[in-house]
Symmetry: C2
Subunit: 249 residues, 2 copies
DNA sequence: CGACGGTTTGAGTCCGGTCAATTGTCGTGG
DNA sequence: CCACGACAATTGACCGGACTCAAACCGTCG
């Protein structure tokens, strides 16, 4: 069964269409996280608004201060979202992965920049069109509200981390958050992949590269984790890590 | 013109009704911030769901971990919202004032506690009822989504503060945020009232009481602010304060 | 292989935390 | 009206965790 509306199926050359359909089916599948119970044909319509866009690691595809014209749905890869101070200090406000939506927090302009960490695919939804869709399907709006609520709760958790936790606790919390997220997507229960650099982790946790590295070393020495290269973390003692993350002893 | 639906007007004793109507009219007026363009009679219905509730300073009226049964609209006074770590470290995630809504970030249980800073009035809206109303009036939902978006943007700004700013910059930012908020409510453009203690400010900005106090003293010495008692701040040099807040020199 | 970027480790410094004492503020009651 | 007590705010002295600067190490890729 095709997800593409009939009206579109006949309006393009068959070859281009086939490629496009393939791409957009996967886009549509990922887009489920936004659409919830949206009828299939409209889901297809949403996914068809734009062809997915591919980005290389290091590409900045969204700039703080630019007019906020699109919602972006990450359909593959990992992304960092950050804000800068005039003197160059940087705070990463979040890492996004497949299924995440970018554009929930906005005004007239984007209030953050976004950069690909790995090869990334995104679907760009023009604000106007999506908003028109919202009027038609309140269920989508409900879904967006729920997502925004979750983001808010996560942001508040991050405030606790940034305001009150030690370096050690921050790293432990960070690893556990990534682990939980991975588990929800059906990944391993004890292995975490870090697609970002130590500097990125530092900018996310309010630390420096060096402090991040030292904290990893400590966790390794105390037997909580094992590092397999710099980017693969094996969580050996999750319970202990949970304690450390909340300041238990 | 009464805001109370006719069905309710006849279902209670006249005397009780009069008092209740008076209380709820003011509640309804404040509730505008949620309802936007909601038809008047339904706005009244929303406001009537519960009589406003009065709270004394220091009263905790919402506990992290309790089942999330209500949305709360602050109609008067000031409130602090916070999260605790097991060992008692505290992070205040926000200060709320008249017109603010509590309950946007939730799951099954509240993820934060809330305590009155001053005498406070709140309107409690049962989740279920409000959600039923949302289905009837998508405009309200749109409004909630917009509020959540703003909260998210503010939360991200706070992450920059907590992760990357110095004590001095945090205090300057804090004062300016309060000032802007006050201005939007039609208050003075150069005076800020602080209904919270230095310890509260510290727990909001990720600092200690002492550091907060020292930062105020510095700002006073460099001529940016004047303190009139501990709770009234006169912003003498707003431009300089803006520079300090963003790390300009 | 060597070059380059990222990571780890070490040595020393500093901002903000801790502990302690003093001052200020406000409400109460003599 | 002032004295008192309680609590908040300020100030000072010292300390320590995270930052800074610098060097060594590692893995990847040409």
């Amino acid at each position: 069964m095709s997800l593409i509306p009939a009206s579109l199926q006949t309006s393009h050359a068959a070859v281009a269409m086939a490629a496009r359909e393939k791409a957009c089916q996967s886009c549509a599948a990922r887009t489920l996280s936004i659409c919830g119970a949206l009828p299939t044909d409209h889901l297809g319509r949403l996914a068809m608004m734009r062809a997915p866009q591919h980005l290389e690691p290091g590409e900045t595809f969204l700039n703080e201060g630019d007019p906020a014209t699109h919602y972006l749905n990450i359909t593959a890869g990992a992304v960092k979202v950050y804000k800068l101070l005039p003197d160059g200090r940087r705070q990463i406000t979040g890492f996004l992965f497949a299924g995440d939506l970018l554009g929930l927090a906005f005004n007239d302009t984007y209030t953050y920049s976004a950069e690909a960490l790995t090869p990334v695919t995104v679907c760009r939804f023009p604000r106007r069109q999506l908003e028109r869709l919202l009027e038609e399907f309140p269920a989508v709006e409900r879904r967006l509200l729920a997502m925004a609520s979750n983001e808010l709760a996560a942001a508040q958790e991050q405030m606790v981390l940034l305001g009150r936790k030690t370096a050690q606790e921050r790293i432990a919390s960070f690893l556990l958050t990534l682990l939980r997220r991975g588990q929800r997507l059906g990944r391993s229960a004890e292995r975490v992949k870090l697609p970002m650099t130590r500097a990125d982790i530092g900018d996310y946790l309010g630390l420096t590269t060096e402090t991040v590295s030292r904290a990893f070393t400590n966790l390794r020495r105390c037997g909580c984790i094992a590092l397999e290269g710099a980017c693969n973390v094996h969580l050996l003692d999750r319970d202990r890590l949970e304690e450390l993350a909340e300041g238990g002893e």
